[in-house]
């Protein structure tokens, strides 16, 4: 006997995924606009964009990197799995200054930053200001999503005192058998 309603329609799933991808791309765009204005008001001129082909090509040219993250593989991985992800490429005057990637918790009220890499070139025009620029963008996207807390996952030990300083206001959390993170409510 024919059943009119089969459980899962693959085409429908693809359509739903592409619609979610478009919706959250637009929401990230709204967060980028807001963060750009905040940064400018603080004296930081930066262009915030999605991590596109131009950003991936520019990152391929970075030398002297501390980490060997394969951004050209990471972005397709995260696009496939996380339409709500946080991603930003920070540019200034045609120079790619940093890439960052994160995602919101499914149910819990936090947005986590998982990867941040600064262009290691000493001539990076936003050297020393990349963290502020990424946090301003992360915070704007958290506000858009209705999240109340930011998390910086797996921070470099040498940078933890800076995140946890009175100026930044994060606190360190060290869960058993998991990577540490710095958290802050917004």
């Amino acid at each position: 006997m024919d059943r009119p309603n089969m459980p899962t329609n693959p085409q429908s799933a693809v359509h739903s995924r592409s619609r979610a991808e478009a919706e959250y791309r637009n929401l990230r765009g709204v967060a980028f606009q807001d963060a750009t204005a905040f940064l400018l008001a603080a004296g930081v001129r930066a262009e915030l964009r999605p991590i596109d082909a131009a950003a991936l090509a520019a990152a391929e040219l970075w030398t002297g990197r501390r980490v060997g993250w394969p951004w050209h593989l990471m972005i397709p991985d995260w696009r496939r799995n996380y339409p709500k992800r946080f991603e930003v490429a920070i540019w200034r005057d045609g120079v790619l200054c940093a890439l960052a990637l994160g995602r919101p918790a499914r149910k819990a009220p936090h947005l986590s930053l998982y990867y941040l890499e600064r262009n290691p070139d000493p001539a990076n025009p936003l050297r020393g200001q990349v963290t502020g620029a990424v946090l301003a963008t992360l915070r704007a996207y958290a506000v858009v999503l209705g999240k109340a807390e930011l998390r910086l996952m797996d921070p470099l030990p040498a940078l933890i005192p800076r995140y946890c300083s009175a100026a930044f206001g994060f606190h360190l959390v060290t869960p058993a058998a998991e990577a540490p993170y710095c958290a802050r409510s917004i």
């Binding site: 309603n5 930081v44 339409p83």
Partner: protein, 84 residues
């Protein structure tokens, strides 16, 4: 003789469409962060949050990483994410 439970296999579409009954006490309203906001709602939220401080954008905050040898964050090696 066939009993009713013998006629239902695990591959029956009806099983795949099973929906749990509502919890006692009625349906809960989803949290704001569980619902995809419209662009207008996103802008409204940002406008409402505009007055909240962003310490990383104060002169003191911006100077915090001025001399940092690195501003990277994350594990040494890339870990592929689990599907959502």
């Amino acid at each position: 003789m066939r009993t009713e439970h013998m006629t239902v296999s695990s591959s029956t579409p009806d099983r795949a469409r099973y929906v749990a009954p509502p919890k006692p006490g009625g349906r809960k309203r989803p949290a704001a962060s569980d619902v995809t906001p419209t662009l207008e709602e996103a802008k409204r939220r940002l406008a409402a949050a505009a007055s909240r401080p962003q310490p990383w954008l104060t002169p003191e905050g911006l100077a915090m990483f001025a001399d940092a040898p690195s501003e990277d964050l994350g594990p040494e090696v890339y870990r592929r994410p689990d599907p959502e």
